[in-house]
């Protein structure tokens, strides 16, 4: 039994949003229900994604029950990327529910999300090192990867340039820099070498929601043009100390599972484009490799040749990706929604969606979406 996406809504990404968390979540949830053409009463299960640390309160979903319409319904939360909340929702629909609403949000201005990353470190050793956080760890991974496979700073900047150019055309994006050049990317401020301001996703505020339904429910309600979830795969890697920093093994596993479920044997010919969560530009090269778009260490050739540009053979992040705005927990749902919009606009028949969670993408999740 397949699961379809029948409605979605995402707020424009912004910073210092003048809305409460409840207001933004309510707007996203209401918009998604309206797009699906159904009422709150038609929803069986609600799964939200938010983080206690980012929100500054524990049980961060407790105040959202009214906003998501989850009152007196089967409700749960993923304290991870919104795509993991979609996975929870699929599990509920595969067992007994007919419809589900998934909502994710982050207000980055509440507390610096990069500071939150330090609370993911092992408290008994790594957290005592004041230099460690998600940015400096990414810098270490980037340098190790770039050194091992002779990837230049320019290769990484080309990824950022592609995504920033795409983001400048996306009305939902937060960072829209029209006319951005390679020189501007390569001369932007260094946070921790080689990570620069423009090769790093900008944390921002956002809320997004999708409505999912079982295939039989979609058929009997004659909803047109649903987007089907054909495959899903998720995997978790080890803690950073005991991981091979040169590859994203858990993403390779997640992708293989999603491909197997969707019957994809050759992603390059059977999938038309991808929306991926690259918190740092170098990660996108590693993502190409883990998704099986090229061999290990050869991601640089895909960006150099324009293969993943919007007019290339396999466009990646036509929406701009996380480079256009990273509403942390909601970013996976933004990628999903962008992919759904692209499919509906005829950009292809099949799309891949990826998101990640944890230090150096410890967890990864992949969806394969398809039209009828």
């Amino acid at each position: 039994m397949r699961i379809g996406i029948i409605g979605f809504h995402a707020l424009p990404l912004t910073y210092d949003i003048e809305m409460t968390r409840e207001e933004s979540v309510f707007e996203a949830a209401k918009g998604a229900l309206e797009a699906a053409g159904i009422e709150r009463e038609d929803i069986d299960a609600v799964v939200s994604a938010s983080s206690d640390y980012y929100d500054g309160r524990t049980i961060s979903n407790s105040m959202l029950i009214g906003a998501t319409g989850a009152y007196l319904k089967d409700e749960t939360k993923a304290e991870e990327d919104g795509l993991f909340a979609v996975l929870y929702a699929i599990q509920r629909l595969r067992t007994y529910h007919r419809t589900a609403l998934v909502v994710a949000h982050t207000h980055s201005w509440t507390f610096n999300p990069h500071k939150v990353s330090t609370f993911m470190l092992d408290p008994l050793f790594d957290r005592q090192n004041e230099l460690l956080n998600d940015i400096t760890l990414a810098a270490l991974q980037a340098n190790a990867y770039m050194h091992a496979y002779k990837v230049s700073e320019e290769d990484v900047a080309l990824v950022a340039l592609k995504n920033l150019r795409n983001a400048s055309r996306n009305p939902l994006a937060y960072r829209r820099l029209s006319g951005i050049t390679l020189e501007e990317v390569m001369s932007s401020e260094v946070y921790s070498s080689p990570i620069r301001e423009l090769t790093m996703a900008p944390c921002c505020d956002g809320a997004a929601a999708v409505v999912l339904a079982r295939e039989d429910v979609i058929r009997e309600s004659s909803i047109d043009d649903p987007i089907w979830i054909e495959g899903v795969g998720a995997a978790t890697d080890r803690y950073i100390r005991d991981r091979n920093l040169l590859e994203m093994e858990s993403l390779s596993i997640a992708a293989k599972k999603a491909y197997a479920m969707a019957g994809v044997t050759d992603p390059l010919t059977q999938i038309d484009f991808a929306e991926v969560t690259e918190r740092f530009a170098y990660q996108e090269l590693m993502i190409y490799e883990a998704l099986g778009l090229c061999q290990k260490g050869r991601g640089k050739y895909l960006i150099r040749s324009g293969f993943t540009e919007r007019d290339g053979d396999f466009p990646v992040n036509m929406s701009g990706g996380a480079a256009g705005g990273d509403a942390i927990i909601a970013t996976g749902l933004y990628r999903l929604i962008e992919a759904v919009k692209l499919l509906k606009n005829g950009a292809g028949e099949r799309a891949l969606v990826h998101s990640q969670w944890g230090l150096l993408a410890q967890k990864n999740i992949v969806f394969v979406l398809g039209r009828e």
């Binding site: 507390f111 008994l124 270490l140 991974q141 190790a144 946070y191």
Partner: protein, 146 residues
């Protein structure tokens, strides 16, 4: 009209963790300038030592502890240009952070480097003069002259 922002109630949370017996010994040995790792039967050497092997998930105990050399190889380096205070504000910084694999260890340690070093360089652990059995006893690493 811009909305008014509130800084919120000052929230300082202090947590206490039990380190577990093996990690406690690991820290205790810092007083003698010793770094202990755990060697699994599968050959994987984990540092700081853990009670489950990250490679094969076998149970590890005190019997698996071995003393590791204090020298290793730099597998990555970054020049850190900022730090964050406890409120998450950025401050300018000029520091070097490295990823190091101690000889004979499979785990990667993330430590401050007291001097410029490059990927592939041999480095050694630098200890605090007065050690208390705490993570801060390791100041960082420095290059080893060939």
């Amino acid at each position: 009209m811009p909305v008014e922002r509130y800084e919120g109630v000052p929230f300082i949370a202090r947590f206490r963790w039990t380190t577990g017996e093996v990690h406690e010994l690991f820290l205790e040995k810092f007083k003698d300038k010793k770094i202990m790792g755990a060697k699994c039967d599968c050959g994987y050497v984990v540092v700081p030592p853990r009670v489950i092997c990250p490679q094969c998930l076998k149970k590890l105990s005190f019997d698996n502890l071995i003393e590791l050399p204090q020298r290793g190889v730099v597998i990555s380096r970054t020049d850190v240009k900022f730090k964050m205070d406890s409120a998450g504000n950025y401050e300018k910084a000029e520091e070097i952070l490295v990823a190091v694999k101690l000889h004979g260890s499979n785990s990667t340690l993330f430590l401050r480097s007291l001097e410029p070093v490059n990927i592939g360089d041999e480095v050694e652990i630098v200890w605090k003069e007065e050690r208390e059995g705490l993570p801060g006893d390791i100041i960082g690493v420095r290059g080893v002259k060939a």
